[in-house]
Structures are given as structure tokens and as C-alpha cells.
Symmetry: D2
Subunit: 124 residues, 4 copies
């Protein structure tokens, strides 16, 4: 379902791979987006960028690498690189910028300290 009629992975799905890597990353850090939601925190994306190098095809296994490219008071920029798991070819690279916001007001707020502490070791 990730491929399209050109028999390659549809370009929009790389953003979904990015997000899946981000969720997995937070989960490994011991965080739970469900709890953030209960606290009224929301992580809207403000920018999403991807550059495509080589196509991924049906049944290819891909690996997604995540680095914290920039950690600011109210926003974080994650860099992603997607590799073909077998050939190790770089398929795509890009980034997401997310801010932390209060869900009621919609306003940006400071990233909670416990998140900042856990993200620091993954900064470039």
C-alpha cells in the first residue's frame, strides 16, 4: 500500500516513515505521546522537507536514521535519512521541524525539561 502505480514508494510516504521513526525514538526514550496529549501538549509540524535520491520498491526493507539537528526553546528539528537495508544506498533525506504547543490556546510553549534532557545526547 506504500507503493504507487510507478511501482515505487509514493513520495508522501517518506514523511510517514519519518514520523514512524520519531514515534519509535520517543518510545525508546521512555516517552509516550498519549501522555503528552493528556497534559495538553501538542507537537504541530511547522516544516517538512524531503529530497529523494533513489526509489524504494515493493518489498524493500528500509532503515530510517534520526538525529536531533537543532534543539531550541520551543522547537526541535529532526533530521532523517532513509536507507535501503540491503544495499545501504541512501534513498532519501530530509527533516521535520516541530514546535511544542498548548493544545487549548494553540500557542507555542517551552519544550518540557524532561524531554530536553533526553534529547540532548542525540543532538548532532
Amino acid at each position: 500500500m506504500d507503493t504507487d502505480a510507478a511501482q515505487v514508494v509514493h513520495f508522501s510516504n517518506y514523511f510517514r516513515f519519518f514520523e514512524r521513526a520519531e514515534e519509535e525514538f520517543y518510545s525508546r526514550l521512555g516517552f509516550n505521546f498519549g501522555e503528552f496529549a493528556k497534559k495538553g501538549l501538542w507537537f504541530p509540524r511547522v516544516e517538512a522537507v524531503c529530497r529523494y535520491r533513489k526509489p524504494a520498491r515493493f518489498n524493500d526493507l528500509v532503515e530510517v536514521e534520526l538525529v536531533v539537528e537543532e534543539l531550541r526553546e520551543k522547537s526541535v528539528k529532526y533530521g532523517f535519512r532513509v536507507f535501503n537495508n540491503e544495499s545501504k544506498d541512501l534513498l532519501a533525506e530530509g527533516y521535520l521541524v516541530a514546535v511544542v504547543a498548548d493544545r487549548q490556546s494553540g500557542k507555542a510553549v517551552a519544550i518540557p525539561k524532561d524531554i530536553v534532557e533526553k534529547l540532548k545526547p542525540f543532538c548532532k
Copy 2:
């Protein structure tokens, strides 16, 4: 993005076509799902069925027919048929059963009267 590596529309997307037809139908009746949500009403699906006859391919235009197959106190069953717009071939047919529920409690409630009245003329 609706097609897959077999160069036909991915089977799961027919359910998205069904839903798009349903939204369009309600919108034509003058309803607004956004307002239902504000009233705390939620329309969870309890059953989704599709039988596939012929594939739809990239760039095909399809037409979705919706009928109200069954209107009960707390649930409604919509029947759908998907046609190729050019050849008029039947591509798929199926149905969705939705209940009306209170979002807080999650319990099924009676379908609001104004909805029932507007759905009646479309019953088989």
C-alpha cells in the same frame, strides 16, 4: 497515491472512497460532521465490507453510488457501488454500518431526528 505496485487502486482505498461519498452525501443534505462532533456525537463504524469485481487503474475516474440500505434506531447501513466512470463497469460494491454514539460515554444513542428525516428518502 491511491494505486499500488500492481498498478491498480489498493483495495483499502475503496473504503476511503465509501467514506468520501458519505461525507459528500451528508454535506449535500445540509449536515456538517464538524457540528455533530461539537454536539458530542460520534459515528463509529461497526462493520465494513467490500467485494471487488474489476480493478481501477491509475487515472481512472470512478463514481460512487450510495444508498441507505437500512435505517435502525441507533445504526445506519449504507450500501456503496463503485463504477468506472467511462466504461460504467461495476468495480466494487460493499457496505458500511455505523452507529451513533455519545463521545463521552462511548455508548450508542438514537440517531437524531433531523438526520433520520433527511435519510428516509434515500432508503432503498
Copy 3:
């Protein structure tokens, strides 16, 4: 991205979970859909059914169980049950019927013997 504005997993995504389980199943059996495609084999779905019991929410981990419900000369019916990984609650159950077809002609053909042999131990 699997959830919707009602904050539950969108009903159409269960079919994507079914398919992901099927791919994983074939991969564990040592098969590769990419190779099937090269041989000109195609597995169009002829029927897809899901009944929804309880919603899955954001960040829930789900487990998908697959059984081979029926193995015919040219078609196979897989049964699926989706569970919440923590509560073990049954969230949804359904099935997919797929036929094996020749991609050129589009006609149904017999399921290759090596597949039949590997599927047999998983028949109900």
C-alpha cells in the same frame, strides 16, 4: 497518522494492518512478494471484511493474528483478529479473500505448489 479526528484509529487502516500481517507472514515463510511479481503472479483481493469491537487509540500497540481460514485451488481466505497488546481486548476481526492471477491475462490461476505446502500448517 493512523488515527482520525475522533481520536481513534480510522476504520480503513485495519485493512492495512491485515495486509501488513500478511506480508510479514509470507516473509516468515521465506516468500518474497517481489519475486512473485517477477514471475507474473498477482494476488488481487476479491473480498475484504472487518467488524469493529473496540476502538484503538493513539499510541496503542496492537497485535494482529492471522489464520488461513480456507485454502482453495485458486484462492485463499485469511482470517484476522486485532488485539490491544496491553489489555488483550479484541478490537476487530475480519478476513481477506485473495485469488492468484496471471498479471498479463488477469485470469485466476492455481496457487503455486510451494505456497500451498507452506500455507497448509496454518490452516484452521
Copy 4:
């Protein structure tokens, strides 16, 4: 199905809106991606960028504006802006860069002249 648990349209779906606008644009120009595919032409994306200004919510109607930002020998850059149809607020803006490639070889080729002629009037 376009919204997520934060009750706004999932960021990856804007790229799908971009693509839908592109398809509609080509269709209005009298082109048919299906025919391009038959001629062995393929339009892989090499870059996709979106910046998000305001969220779109369930049931919002959006309008997508497309301009041809750059027309090169073998590539085209489309700019997109997504507006809320009612408030006219700018929700998101971005671009896609696509190259024209031969599907067999995967190599970039010159954009066919009939396409170039029809795109020119839409260049910024």
C-alpha cells in the same frame, strides 16, 4: 481519514493535496498521466517541501493554488499554496520538484515539447 488524533489534518496529507492539484491541473490541460505511462515516461519527485501556517480541521474545505515556479529542460518546480476556503487563511505553502525520466532506464530526459508549451502560460 485526513485528520489525526490532534484533530487537524495530518501534515503528510498536504503533499497528497499538492499531488491532487497537480493531477487536476494536467487533466485540465488535456493531459493524461495514463498516456504518459504508456509512453514510458515517469515523473519522479526529487524534492518535496511544505511549511505549515495554520491547521486545517475536520470538515474544512481547502483550496489548493498551483503555479509553475520553474521550468527547466528536464525538471519542473510547482509551487503550492493551501487556503481555507471559508476564511481564506493561508494554511500551508510548499513546492514539489519533479524530473521527467524514462521508465526503463530511470534516466532523466527532456520534458516533451507539448507539455512545455502548455505549462509556459502558468509560469510565474
